[in-house]
Structure formats: C-alpha cells, structure tokens
Assembly symmetry: C2
Homo-oligomer: 285 residues x 2
C-alpha cells in the first residue's frame, strides 16, 4: 500500500508527502493534531491539516525566527514567545547565555505534550530553567504586560483557527505596549505567492506598520510551506535589522547554524519587486 499526506497550498495546488505511518492523531479544544513518519522529511506534525514542522527542514524556520532579532540586538534579556508549541524557537533562544528569561505562551498544551513525545530535539530547550511555560491565550497574556520584553516572537499558525487573534490590530498594539523602548517584534508573516497567504501577509504588514516605526519583512526558503517562499516580519521601536547588525559580534558567539549566517541576515531583507509592491500597496490602503 501507499499512504500519502496531502496539503492544499491553494485551492488548486497541493503538496503531498509519502507517509510510512501515522504516529499520532488527536483533537484538543483548539485543533486537530497529527504526527506522521516519512522517509523524505523524517517525522512531521500537522495542525488542522497544515504542516507545522518536519525534522528535515524545521532548522530553517527556527534559525530565521530567532537569530535575526538576536543578532540585531545582543542585549536582549527578556523574551516573550507566543505559540511555538513545537519548542524549536525556544531551543534556539536558550543557546544565548545572555538571555535571562523566556516566557512562552502556547494556547494548546496538547501540542507541547505531543511534541515532547515525538520531537525530543525540537523540544529540548523547554526545560531550561529560564523558560516559563504558560498554557494560555497569547492575546490576553500580552495585553496585561507593559514595557516588559526586549523581544516578542510570534510563532503562530496561519490566521485561521486559534492563530487568528495573533494577526489583529489590537494584538500588535498590545505587543508594542509590552515591549521596552528598544523592543523588537518578530512574527511569522505568511507567504507572498498564493492569494490567500498573500492577503494575510498584506493585512499583517498593514497592521504592524501602524504601530512600529520600523516594520520590515524578510524572506526565507522553507520547502515544506506553501510555495516554499516564506516571510517573517521584523518590527521595532528603534533597531534597524540591517544597519544595526554587528556581524563580528554575533560570529564571535560561535553558534553553529544550518541556515542562518550574518550574510543571509543582511540579504534576507532584500525583497523581489513583486513582494515590495504588495507590501507598499498594503500600507497605502
């Protein structure tokens, strides 16, 4: 027999992975969670039928969501991570000795429990003593914080289901308030290629742009996400991610990474014309 996992990247384009077996299937109060074993990608898990991480390429996402802000401001001490139930973002953060505290707020405890069982590498940082795990609504959590974090990372699902609130104006406004005056907000920012993702990208950029004087977007090659062309948002109250990068300082840390390097850091903010156009249309609406 053959077993294939299929994900619709748009209504009329889909991506399929041959599966050796399904390792887990469950349903939380928030979403459906499945874990699969494959030859091509190793283990991978999905939320409501969308790939979250695969063992083969999760390093790309987690490198780029963490090291870009950390290299921009190495003085970051207090970090809030929203979502990120697979643990990969925290795994990369705890490599920085300079970080004093990481609050991680994941709405769905089952995601963390399942990932602890099936993705021990990904979740290996969650027991670091600087990490505080909260199983709460990130939207509410951040609304109660003022001038507290140097960095907020929004490592969410797409803006449907439980991730929806993390793409709203009020959420970005609350993030701005929760950040210190040197604060940085990084979020997964969808994709520019397929129409539905493109719209989500434009909405996110438009809203972030309202609250942050610096609101940039950077791009990454993530083969298992729709179109493989994925974006992150970098917003801040003062730091410019390219001008303020001190490459020598980051390189002196000696962190080994599979995707990120300081050349990629500068390069990923250069965007294709069609993406620049979509972003400028979004803020002129």
């Amino acid at each position: 027999m053959e077993l294939w996992y299929t994900e619709n990247h748009s209504k009329e384009a889909k991506f399929s992975i041959k599966v050796e077996k399904q390792l887990y299937s469950g349903k939380s109060d928030f979403q459906r969670i499945d874990v699969f074993e494959s030859n091509e990608f190793g283990k991978f898990f999905t939320l409501d039928g969308l790939v979250m991480i695969t063992e083969k390429d999760e390093f790309i996402y987690h490198d780029m969501i963490v090291h870009v802000p950390m290299a921009t401001n190495p003085a970051i001490k207090k970090v809030l991570v929203i979502g990120a139930g697979d643990g990969g973002t925290v795994r990369e953060l705890v490599r920085y000795e300079s970080i004093e505290k990481i609050d991680m707020v994941e709405i769905d405890q089952l995601v963390v429990d399942v990932c602890r069982e099936y993705f021990p590498h990904s979740t290996s940082g969650l027991d670091d003593e600087r990490v505080n795990l909260y199983f709460e609504d990130g939207l509410k959590f951040v609304s109660e914080k003022v001038n507290e974090y140097d960095l907020i990372i929004v490592d969410s699902t797409d803006p449907i289901g439980p991730g929806e609130g993390l793409f709203t104006r009020v959420f970005y406004e609350n993030c701005h308030k929760a950040l210190t005056d040197k604060g940085i907000l990084v979020n997964q920012h969808e994709s520019p290629f397929y129409e539905e993702y493109q719209k989500a990208m434009q909405r996110a950029h438009q809203r972030i742009h309202e609250f942050f004087p610096v609101a940039k977007v950077y791009q990454v090659h993530i083969p298992t996400y729709a179109s493989g062309h994925w974006l992150f948002g970098f917003a801040s109250k003062s730091f410019d991610p390219v001008k303020d990068l001190d490459a020598d300082r980051w390189n002196a840390l000696g962190l080994e990474t599979g995707y990120y390097n300081t050349e990629i850091h500068k390069a990923c903010f250069a965007l294709p014309n069609y993406v620049k156009k979509l972003l400028s249309e979004a803020v002129s609406k």
Copy 2:
C-alpha cells in the same frame, strides 16, 4: 470531474496542479511535450513530465537568469543562449539595446514551435533581428566556438534526457573556450534540497569550478520548481557579480522587472550554511 497534473519532486514528495484542460501533447525526437491550462498558474508546459514554465511564475526564472549577468557587465554585446526553447530568456535579453547579437541554440525545434503557439508573451523576443535561432545540439555548437561570446546562458532541463550533456566537464570546458576573456557563464544550477537535485547541483559546481576562477552560486524563490529553492551558477573569467555590480548604472536603464532588482542581485549570492557546505564539499572532492 477533476484533472490534476502531478510532478514528483522527489520519490516521496510531489506537487500537483489542478488543470482545466490539456491544450497539447506531443512527442519530439528528444522528449514528450505537454501544455496545460490551469487557474492557479495560467498556462504551463512540461517536458517529460517536469514543469518548465508557468505563466504565473516564469518571470522569476527569466529575470534572474538574465539580469544578474547583464547588470554585472553592461558591456556584454554577444550572447549565446543554450536551451531556452520557451523564449523567456531571449525576451529579457532583447530589452538591452546594448546587445548586438544573440545566438540561441535549442536542440528541439518542437519546443519552440509549441511555445510560439501557446506562450506568445514568453516567445515575443525570438523575432528580434539580433536573434539567430539554431536547432542544433548546444554541446556541439559551443565546441566549435573560440573567444566569441561575452555571455553564455545555459537554460537547460535537468541533467537527464536531452539536457544531460549540458552538465558535463567537456561542455563547461568548451564554454570557457568560447567565452572572451571577460566572459560570463550563467546556468540553471538545480536545487539544494532534495537528494537527486542536490547531487546534480554538486556535480555542476564541481565541474564549473575546475575551469573558471570565479564560480559562484545564487538562489531564487521559484515556487513551481522542486522545493521552491532554486539555484543559478555564475562563473566568469574576471567579473565578480557582487563587487563589480554598478547598481546605479543598471537602475538608470529603467527596465521594469517583477522579481529582479539590484538589492536582490547582491543578496541572492548570500547562501544558507547548509548550501555553502554542500558546495564546498563538492569542490573538495
């Protein structure tokens, strides 16, 4: 009914496009050619079951295979294009008034004939008076040239079937000989992600590196190619594509492009660590 085109990106990962109808199917002496109509990508055509171009994203490939070398050396006058039967590469080249002559060598006339019928935008440059079309084996054609071209673009299929010879040592050696002392060779360089493509990328880089003092690789987001993470090779006898770029000079030409810009030009040569590692392994073999 539903009709889906499916392409295997690896043995255990595949990509599918919903098709409205098949517009053409034929077989030349070299390969099978199919043309499809889709909502998501517009018209697209395949050779031996691999997507060559789609109306939606072909601009990305053609921008990046042409404008990177042309912006590096605006004095390019004589160009040899090998493969490129869809015409898109020549369409971008003929926008440069400074180019005096373009020899295009496509082994399979049927590809050009079919593309002229179904992709008039893509083939719109082929009747430019500076263009000479040869339906011959590019490998043989280039072997008979010495010190003749300022730029050779290898816009080939993958190294199986008719494209195989265009990935050999003798071919790259002949390209070197056919180029002037300021000559540039750009080739489609496969992908770093899936194993078979990765091997082809490493072989190509290893062989090009033997003959050219400058042998770099640059990356592009092409959603309809395997993994979406595609590479081009930039080899030359003297020019460095980043150091020798005069961005103001290219921008003064006023060419409108959907993907390429001079920031992307510099940025696309910054590669992820895992890709850099694969490339350095290839040349140390």
